[in-house]
Amino acid sequence: MSQHSHGRDDSAKIADHHHIHSELPSDPALRVKALESLLAEKGLVDPATIDAWVEIYESKIGPRHGAKVVAKAWVDPAYKQRLLTDATKAIGELDMLGGQGQHMVALENTPGVHNLVVCTLCSCYPLPVLGLPPAWYKSAPYRSRAVLDPRGVLKEFGLELPEHVKIRVWDSTAEVRYLVLPERPAGTEKLTEEQLAALVTRDAMIGVAKVTA
Amino acid sequence: MLKDHPHHHDHPRAHSEVPSDPALRTKTLESLLTEKGLVDPAAIDAWVDAYEKKIGPRRGAAIVARAWVDPAFKARLLSDATGTIETVGFLGREAQHVVVLENTPAIHNLVVCTLCSCYPWGLLGLPPRWYKAAPYRARSVMDPRRVLAEFGLALGEEVEVRVWDSTAEIRYLVLPERPAGTDGLSEAELAALVTRDAMIGVAKVEAPKEAKA
């Protein structure tokens, strides 16, 4: 298939360009500062735009969005149904679609099935509903072991699942982004949607934790 | 076992706490081992002497040359290399179980150790750096013809390339084709033509420029 062969040349050239990194200082802070200066001089970036993006991911987008989706699904069975059938549409109802989260799938945890999300090949993650991924999610240990030994990984997070629970690990190899819908903990029947949302952690929506009351 | 054993992970920390220069580290290690009586520096000298001066590709070349001039020896070599080489006195560390691979106009053999750096030390001395490096280990089993081309060896499409991955303790020696125009040469003169690279399989043996009639 022609799509699966490619010009060796462009990859080889890019690999060559990567050799510059042995000629640059090892401290990334210096290098990024120099890069930002250069790009600003060339008009390739506006430093104030960098500030805007940092603010988006530090303050405007984060796991509280995903928690709202989860809490709504817990209290509203019709929404939950819509979420499980077409998460893109259901999350869109809450105006929470965006870059790296335009095609969504929600994965329901049940007593019999526990879902866990990873990107073995890089670090794909549903940014608009969870914000930026934690360093561990993007690291070699998680990327390598989540598909090989998910139970061992969950144990490191303090979560031990009984043998009969089926674990499904979802490797985000494409642009589909996964959000785990954790089980609603017992003893939360009287909580409001807002109070429920406050219980939902980012780790539970990745699948390395359960939500506790 | 699919799970990583946690205690293995303590050791890597040691490597980030010692100086990066391997010369310093090795000197320090040798001093420590000497103080503890775990090594005799004179024994280190003896090993270095063995591999710098006594054991090297001339051993393999002698075997190749004899196989070229002595059909009975060649036949024994191809059916039981270990036994045959033992009679010549060349078995030793990293060459206790040997298989000799005959190159012909139809078949070209190439030896690698993808998993580490296994090599017939007793017959060829210490391996060259490229043999032990990631590019050769990765690419020789995937695209041997391209690797050979980098060594300047272009094989016709009709030649079958066989790559031997030294995954066990069997050590492989390539018996290269005897070049044309060498009928008048003595065994010693023939041995002088045989290169280490030809016995790994990344080169052919060339006749001398001023070939004797």
Binding site: H18, I20, H21, K42, I50, G99, A135, W136, S144, T173 | -
Partner: protein
């Protein structure tokens, strides 16, 4: 490509060791690099697939030792050098060469939020009907492209069941190399752990991977 980035199933990387109360950024430079990635002008051929491939081409020793946002730094620098938008001298000095014309079309701060909301839609119409049906057994093909692919090594040659069909998606193998989007039907395929890792693996756990039609064959 069969690079070190293709990590599923590797041993030797150590414990996951999550950091409690981890900040969004561990250092200001990380935040700046994120902002550069999102807000700077990229050469037009550097779409997300090419970007990922550039990152995959980072030499293994740097890929494994440098931190995540440093990967972004290295990748953007390689993209600038490859496209001729910057020279090695400029990268080292942090200054544009004399006589460089300054562009005036960089993303403005007020454009950032809209960009966040609308960018990154990869679903596309595909004219042909899907080849594979829900519940069908399929095998991930044993292909080993030296260019960009999203078919991890640990599933190649393995048999799974089609669990979902996502319609048409841009094909990274093509898009990363300037060969067009070439969208194909995208499926989620479920593989049993035993199928992937052998008889000693868990008997009922599964891995699901999103795989394009050309990655698959009937089994």
């Amino acid at each position: 490509m069969n690079g070190v980035h293709d990590m599923g199933g590797m041993h030797g990387h150590g414990p996951v060791a999550p950091e409690k109360g981890e900040p969004v950024f561990h250092a200001r430079w990380e935040a700046r690099m994120l902002g550069i990635r999102r807000g700077a002008t990229f050469p037009s051929e550097v779409n997300i697939d090419r970007w990922r491939h550039i990152r995959e081409l980072i030499p293994p020793h740097l890929y494994l030792s440098r931190s995540y946002y440093d990967h972004w730094y290295m990748s953007y620098v390689a993209a600038l050098l490859q496209s001729g938008w910057a020279t090695a001298e400029e990268i080292k000095s942090g200054h544009a060469g004399s006589g460089t014309a300054k562009r005036n079309d960089a993303m403005r701060p007020d454009q950032a939020w809209e960009s966040q909301k609308t960018r990154g839609v990869f679903t596309r119409a595909v004219e042909t009907p899907p080849l594979f049906a829900m519940g069908q057994r399929v095998r991930a093909r044993n292909i080993n492209p030296s260019g960009h692919t999203r078919l991890p090594r640990y599933v190649r040659g393995r048999v799974g069941i089609v669990g979902r069909h996502h319609g048409g998606h841009v094909l990274p193998d093509s898009n990363a190399h300037g060969k067009g989007e070439a969208p194909e039907h995208l499926y989620t395929v479920a593989f049993s752990m035993q199928e992937l890792w052998g008889a000693e693996a868990s008997p009922h756990d599964e891995i699901c991977a999103d795989l394009w039609e050309s990655y698959l064959e009937p089994a």
